[in-house]
Structure formats: C-alpha cells, structure tokens
C-alpha cells in the first residue's frame, strides 16, 4: 500500500537523503526514521503545537507537512537548535523559571518562542501570550512560559541595544 519517493533535505545543517513513504508526516519521519525524538506528536491535527519544527527558517507544524514536502527544504529540530546554541539563553530561562513540567510541549514551545525572539521586537505579556497561543501546554498554566520568554526577550534587547546588533 505504501508508495515511496526519494527526498533530500538539509536537517540541522547537514544533508540527508532518504526514501520515504509518500503518506508519512514530516514529524513521524524525523522521529521514526532519523531518531530525532525531541519533536513530539500530541494531536496529529494541527492544533496542539507539540510537533512544531523550523522549516526554511519558519515555525511549522510537523504533523501537517508530509516528509515529501520537506524535499529541498532546510529543517531544524530542537536537537539542532540545542546543538547550535541558538536558544541556550531561552532554554536556561525555561529551566530557571520552571517553565515546563512534563516537558512534552516544550520543544515546540521553544521553537515558536525562538521565532518570537528572532523578530527582535519588544513585546508585552499580552502580545507574548497571543503569539504563543498555537502551542498548548496542559501542565504549566503558561505563566512561567511567558515569564521565561519575556525575560529572555528583554535580555536580548538590552544586549542588542548595547552592542547594536539587532537583537539576535
């Protein structure tokens, strides 16, 4: 029943070539074929955000994309963002503020938050809450998540103001 196609993509900065079933979701491909289990599957219908990945620089739902659609794309996962150190400050803030409990939502939350931070724009708590609305967390009640993002954003903006590098 399965048809397969060959795809090649850039995954966390490295080239990957695989033959994938045409119906396989990108997040399932990453988890089962490549062992990148940091991305999670919470609903498989695009609501919860647990599967959030970065595709060509933008946050995307890994359960709403097929692996074949990632052909030729650059895909980044929580593993890649961790190794590059890009969100080390955000991750540290999450730990310090206890902005996660079970942690199942957390990789997706971090990737969405990374996009927020990447804009380099000041945001108040209400705006942070609105931006993060596509990532459900059943454990924390969100306040600590907002606190951690707010603190990281403020620190980055302050750093940017003192070095003039645009906040990234």
């Amino acid at each position: 029943m399965d048809e397969f196609v060959d795809i090649s993509l850039t995954l966390n900065g490295r080239p990957v070539r695989r033959r994938v079933p045409v119906r396989q979701h990108l997040v399932d491909f990453l988890r089962t074929e490549l062992g990148l289990t940091g991305s999670h599957v919470g609903c498989e219908h695009g609501v919860c955000g647990a599967c959030t990945l970065r595709v060509d620089g933008r946050a995307a739902r890994g359960c709403l994309m097929l692996a074949v659609q990632a052909d030729g794309c650059s895909v980044e996962t929580i593993e890649g963002l961790t190794e590059s150190g890009e969100i080390a400050d955000l991750q540290e803030a999450f730990v310090a503020r206890n902005a996660l409990q079970c942690g199942f939502c957390t990789p997706g939350v971090l990737i969405t938050a990374a996009e927020l931070l990447g804009r380099g724009q000041p945001m108040d708590r209400a705006a942070i809450r609105a931006f993060m609305s596509g990532n459900y967390c059943r454990c924390t009640g969100y306040q600590a998540i907002v606190d951690a993002i707010e603190a990281t954003l403020r620190a980055r903006l302050e750093r940017a103001a003192s070095t003039g590098d645009g906040g990234r």
């Binding site: 990148l36 940091g38 999670h40 599957v41 991750q91 730990v95 459900y136 059943r138 969100y142």
Partner: protein
C-alpha cells in the same frame, strides 16, 4: 521564619530548578513512544462506532492477509488469555460492576470501546488493515442521559443487573429536615457539571514485551503507578509477580488519566505475550478523547439553610453521577461521588448535613480519577450556595464565610461525614487574600465600572482538600492500591548519594523535591543526590503518584531514610574519629564537629572505609551505607489541606464572553519544600480548573456519539486566554515529628472552578441572571441573560 522553612534544614525551602528540566528543554526527553525495541510490532484498535451495539459477527480474514499484518485479535481471542476485572470497592458493597474484558466480546457499550486489534510492522499498516475487518453490528438503544437511564423500563446496559443504577449511598448527620424547616432562608440550586477529560499532551502509550524463555513481561508505559500495573498484569495475565516489570520513563502529563487500568492497554500486554514480541500502542488524539477516562458529569441539586444572620443550619446535596458503562478499575468510579459527599461545605460548621449520591451506568466513556477528583465540584456547589445566601441577606461574601468557617478552637475536628481535619487555616487564608488582593478596592473598582456599563465579577471560593490518603480508603475497600511509599538512600563510595523511590514524577518535580529533602536530611547538596523513580523492579513498593502524595508521603519517607543514613554515617565517622556520633554532624557533604563546625572527614572518606577498608573499623561495626524505609500515614485517613481562590472577570453581555482579568490563590500546604515548583503546580492546576469552568466539555449527542473528539472541539485553555495567577502561601505547621508537607498537586484545580463560577455569577447579578452549569460557555451565559430578561428580573443598573 528561619531560612529552611518551618525550621527545617536547607535546602528545604529553596527554589531549586529541576535536573530533569535541563534534559527536557534539550529535546532529550525519553517518553515511551521514543523507545523502540528489536522486532517491535505496532497495534491499532478497531473501536465501536456505536454507543451501544451487539457484534453479530466479526470477520478478520481480509485484515489478517493485509500487507505487514502479523496478527488480528478479537475480544474472544484476548479474553482467553486475560482474567476479566470489576471496578468494585468493598466500602461500597452494593457496587457490583459487571466484569470487563480487554476487548468487547459480544456487546460494545460506549463509542470508542476497542473490539478488535490488528498487529502489524508499522502503525500505518495496522490502521490500513482495520478498514478490512468486517463486523455485522446490531445497534442497540443508547442510554445516554442519566435521568432517562433511571426511568423504569429504560433499556438496560447490563441485562443481568436490576437497573442502570450502579450504586446509591447516603450520608447524614443531624436532623436535616427539621433544620431546614427552621431556617430563615433556604437557597436551592440545580447544577450541571459537564464532563471533562485530562488531555495529557502525550497520549497514553505502552510497549509490552514478553520473553517466553524467561516467562517475563516487561512493560514500558506512560503511567503514574508502576507497582499498581505490575500487580494487575501479574494477576490478570497469570504471570508470577516477580516476573513482571513496569517501567515508567518520562511521562508527558498524567493528571489521573494515567493512573487507571485501561482495557486496550491490557490487550497490548496480552498480545505481547501471545506473540512473544514487543508490541507498541500509542493512543492517537481521537482515541484519547474516546477511551481515556473522563471525569465530573454530575447533576446536583443542593440546598443551603441559613439563619437570619447567615449562619449555616443545614446543607443537603443530591448528586446524580453518570459514570459510563462500567466502574473504572482498579480504584472504582465511586471516588468522585464520594468526595462530593464527603467534602461539600467542608470549610464550614455544618450542624446538619446530608448527601445522597446515585451512580448511573450509561453508554459513554468511563469515569475515573482526574485531578482533584470531585473536590472542584464539592467546592463549587457550596461556594455558589453560600454566595447565594450572602446575596439574599445582603451580606458581603467575605463576611458570610467568616461567620461560618471552622475556627481554630474547632480543631482537631471530625466532619459530619467522619473525616478528621487535624488543622485548617481557613481564616488565615481568607485574611491574606483580602489583604493581598485589596478586595475592598477591587469591589470599589467593580462598582464604579458597573456604572459605566462594564460588567465585572469577583468570585471567591474556599476549599478543603484531602491529600495523601492513608491505608483506610483503598485498604478497607479491598482495592490493591498502595498507600505506602518506600525509599532507598544509598551512599556511593565517592560520597555521592543515590536515591531510589516509589514516588513517581510526571512533571511535578517530585524527583527534585526528594533530592532536596534527602540533601537536607543527610547534610549534602542537592546536586550530589541522584534520584531514580518509576521502575517497579528496582524501586521499593509504593503507590506512585495519586492524591497529591509526592510531597506529603514521598518526601516524608525520603527525609526519614536520609536521616537514618546520616545516623549510620555518623556511627562510622565516630568510630574512625573515636568520638561519640552525636558530637558530629554532616554539613555540605563534610563530617564536622557538631559544635564548632570544623571539618573532620568527608563523605568520600566514609564511603572508602565503608566499602573498601572495613578493617579500620571495630569488628562489631558493620557499616550500613544504604537504608530503606517505608511509610504510610496511620494517624489520619487523609492529610487535609485548605486554601482559597479568587477570580476577577469581565463579562461582555452582548457576546457572552468572559475575560479572565486576574486569579489569585492562597494555599496552606504545610511545609514548603521548593517554592518554585510549588507555585507552578498550583498555577497549572488552576488553569485546568479554569478550563473546566469555562471551556472544556466532552460532548455526546443523544445517540451517544462523541461530538468533541478533536482538540479543536474539546477546548483546553490557551496562553492568550489565561490571566496571570498570584499564588500566596500560609505555612501552617503540623507536628514537629514529621517533615510536615501536605499535598499540593490538586489544590489549584480544587478551587478554581468555584471561584470562576462565583465571579461569572457576580458579573451576571445586574442582569438578574444566574448560571449553574459548567462550562460557562458564551452560549449558556447569553441564554441565562435572555431568560432573566424574559422573567423581568433585570435589576436597574
């Protein structure tokens, strides 16, 4: 207050982040679905499309021949290898829930009940093959509404039971009818509490592996109680218990959903045994909504009688509780109704009290034990009525509570339903709330805005919660659920510390809290303690996580074990230094002279001598550098905690939308072990309670078809809708001989719904409208306003 909180040694009371959190933010979590075993197969279930239907015939031949399929099983195939179970409880001997099997055999009794299983090389192939199973269904009348279920002549869900009434029980104290007859005012309300479910972000997941050469079953499972599961797999599958091992890796949220024994998961274990290969099942989100336990679903008529000054003279509660087609195993579905009967009005002096609970079978999903089990309802019912009484008499909601609270002189107290409360700090919590929130100012703001056509409401709700149950409830209930926990604390030769405990963690931070109390008890730093939880083979026997027991029982025993180890270490140190052990102490990992604090030895010295150089010790001194202790609270049935919550909302009378402006909690959890983790436990619980008050509802059609089986239909709170939540604490002491932590995991959920319900009703006051149904959806709020307008009760405003 001394640094360590209630005079306890550091690092008790310190805001330490969790070691596990570091791993999880890096994407290095290891949840059950992240595990893959050699030769592992995948299971998919065919689930009943009907709420109630007979399986006339079932043909699996085509499915069995589909690509990648290893085997297909029907209910009969699986039942042959698994004993059935009944969700009964000996404290309620009239409850006689019929036997339940892993897969439905003849009749499916709720939409989503598993009826057949396909096992294939991939999940996708297993799902493909499901479509090839042919079932000849005979649809039976669905019994959905609990009132209709009790009407004589209603179709019976279990033909061999006298009716759809699963259980009825009443508890009463005092002459209730007489008290009502003499009450100055009687406030009556009929409540409808909608059905909720836990929506753990990680759905239920299990991998079962059976090795026929050793006859050993190893189960990796996203679960809260590995020992409970070990016991069940052993008994139901007939495998000696020492050959069953249940491992709970990282768990992606649990909230009671993962405390249960599920029919489909039993089938997975059976399949693993029949095939001799590892088998994985991951519930997808539809399956989670259909087959995870649900909760709440109560219709309650309650009456409160007060005298002219607003003092309670009587409370009467009548609960109709719809539990699905079976009582949930192993704990029995009775707990929620039981807690409602036990706890409604618990913060108050109740001269006369009566509660009746009727549990009804119906063709919906099963009701289990979701966070705060019944307590949010007990709270909401009493707090609505007491606000109603205040409004009737013209008293302030704060004042009427003060007049009725149990007071310091009442303790120790036994409630009308026989529950002992050692001490509650109701007035202290209320005082702190009034002060911190500046309630008078908030009221003034509300009134001022009302004149401008802005409708805000303030609601407060006091609650009493029963945490860390002792052995009475389940023990006397003949339910094999452990109320005790155990803990091993072991000194490694290097002087570092390992802990293995029966408590489990699903994100609460129980492992960190245990590390902290062990560090405090022994005299080391938290970073020098490693805690392992969640493995039925290596951990001491215990209950895992339920009823807010991680801090109150899990940490209590860890602290005791650490102190015992400290005594053992000091014995060795004393022998080496030729000093009496009590002249020594352990501080920051060093053995010091207790008086001057001068370092004499390190823990590594003790480890070296204790494990490698025992010849340096007197011949009669055997170093015991690992200790195991167990603990079950025996002095009371529950550790009672209490608190109060406040909600401040704004209502849009045109759309019915409720905006949460602010939420506050004052909680008494006894000793605070880690304020950072504690506050987030409360906030997370509050948001689940708010979800139940405003958004969340498992909706079924009148035919028993679930209408809310996606996350777009069952609405859990999003970040944009939630307010910031203030959390304040009252640390009321309990006896010096104990560590003194009370439960905390359910406090947020227990009080939030009542506070929000009162706030919404306060905002509705100018319209003369009331709402007594959860969730308070915009539609229901608009209907309440419309009905009030029709009655002409709108106050001038």
């Amino acid at each position: 207050m001394p640094e360590g909180g209630m005079d306890r040694p550091l690092p008790i009371g310190v805001r330490e982040p969790r070691a596990r959190a570091r791993r999880l933010v890096a994407g290095r979590g290891r949840y059950t679905d992240d595990i893959s075993l050699p030769r592992m197969l995948h299971v998919a279930f065919l689930r009943s499309p009907y709420a109630h239907a007979r399986i006339r015939s079932i043909d699996v031949a085509a499915a069995a021949a589909a690509p990648g399929v290893e085997a297909v099983f029907t209910g009969r195939d699986i039942a042959a290898a698994c004993n059935p179970w009944q969700g009964n409880h000996a404290l309620f001997p009239d409850l006689d829930s019929p036997p339940q099997y892993p897969l439905a055999i003849e009749i499916a009794r709720w939409q989503g009940e598993a009826v057949a299983a396909v096992v294939a090389e991939t999940r996708a192939q297993a799902e493909d093959a499901l479509a090839l199973i042919e079932i000849d269904w005979e649809e039976l009348p669905a019994v959905v509404d609990p009132e209709a279920a009790l009407v004589p002549g209603a179709p019976k869900i279990h033909p061999d039971r006298p009716s759809n009434l699963a259980l009825e029980f009443t508890t009463a104290k005092g002459d209730v009818d007489d008290a009502f007859a003499r009450a100055a005012h009687v406030i009556e309300e009929t409540f409808v509490f909608g059905r909720h479910t836990g929506v753990t972000l990680e759905p239920r997941t299990i991998i079962a592996e059976f090795d026929p050469t050793e006859e050993r079953l190893v189960v990796h499972q996203s679960h809260q109680a590995p020992h409970q599961q070990q016991d069940l797999y052993a008994r139901l599958l007939g495998i000696p218990e020492h050959k069953v091992r249940v491992i709970c890796p990282d768990v992606g949220g649990a909230f009671g959903v993962k405390l249960q024994f599920y029919a489909d998961e039993a089938a997975v274990a059976v399949i693993a045994r029949l095939l001799g290969r590892p088998v994985k099942f991951v519930a997808d989100r539809f399956e989670a909504f259909a087959a995870d336990i649900h909760a709440r679903d109560h219709r309650i008529t309650a009456r409160l009688g007060v005298d002219a000054e607003g003092r309670i003279v009587a409370l009467d509660v009548d609960d109709l509780f719809a539990i699905g087609p079976y009582s949930q195993y192993p704990r029995a579905s009775v707990t929620e109704g039981g807690h409602i009967a036990r706890l409604t009005g618990a913060p108050y002096r109740l001269p006369a009290y009566r509660a009746r609970v009727r549990m009804v079978y119906q063709n919906k999903g099963l009701i289990g034990h979701y966070r705060a089990v019944g307590q949010p309802i007990a709270c909401a019912v009493a707090e609505r009525l007491i606000d109603g009484a205040a409004a009737k008499i013209g008293l302030d909601p704060v004042e009427i509570r003060r007049r009725n609270y149990l007071r310091d002189e009442d303790f120790p107290y036994t409630s009308p339903t026989g529950v002992a409360f050692e001490h509650l700090s109701l007035n202290r919590c209320l005082d702190l709330l009034v002060e911190k929130l500046d309630l008078p100012a908030l009221r003034a703001e509300q009134q001022a805005l009302r004149a401008k056509g802005i409708y805000r409401g303030i609601g407060i709700a006091s609650f009493v919660e029963l945490t860390g149950p002792g052995p009475d409830y389940y023990g006397q209930g003949q339910v094999r659920v452990s109320s005790q926990d155990g803990c091993i604390v072991k000194l490694e030769p290097s002087g570092k510390v390992r802990v293995v405990a029966s408590a489990t963690d699903q994100g609460q931070g129980t492992d960190t809290a245990i590390a902290q109390v062990v560090a405090a008890g022994l005299g080391v730093r938290t970073a020098d303690v490693h805690v392992l939880l969640g493995d039925s083979e290596v951990c001491p026997y215990g209950g895992g996580a339920y009823a807010s027991r991680g801090a109150s029982i899990g940490c209590e025993i860890a602290f005791r074990a650490a102190r015992q180890l400290k005594g053992n270490v000091l014995k060795v140190a004393g022998a080496l230094l030729q000093m009496p052990p009590d002249a020594l102490d352990i501080r920051d990992g060093a053995i010091v002279d207790a008086e001057k604090g001068v370092e004499r030895l390190t823990l590594a010295d003790i480890g070296r001598v204790g494990y490698f150089q025992q010849y340096l010790l007197p011949p009669d001194l055997q170093p015991e550098l690992a200790v195991v202790q167990h603990y079950v609270p025996r002095d009371q049935a529950y550790i009672a905690g209490n608190g109060i919550q406040a909600s401040y909302v704004e209502l849009d009378p045109e759309t019915g939308f409720v905006k949460l402006l602010r939420h506050a909690v004052v909680h008494d959890c006894g000793l605070i072990i880690n304020p950072l983790l504690l506050d987030e436990q409360i906030r997370g619980g509050v948001v689940q309670g708010i979800g139940g008050a405003l958004f969340e509802e498992v909706v079924y059609g009148s035919d028993g078809q679930m209408l809310s089986a996606t996350m777009a239909d069952y609405i859990v709170p999003m970040s944009s809708e939630m307010p910031d939540i203030d959390v304040w604490h009252v640390e009321a002491g309990i006896g010096r001989e104990k560590l003194g932590a009370k439960g905390v995991g359910e406090a947020g959920t227990a009080g939030a719904m009542g506070a929000v319900l009162n706030a919404v009703n306060d905002a509705l006051l100018p319209f003369g409208a009331r709402i007594a149904q959860t969730p308070c959806t915009p539609q229901r709020i608009l209907r309440a306003i419309r009905e009030a307008r029709a009655r002409g009760t709108t106050q001038s405003h």
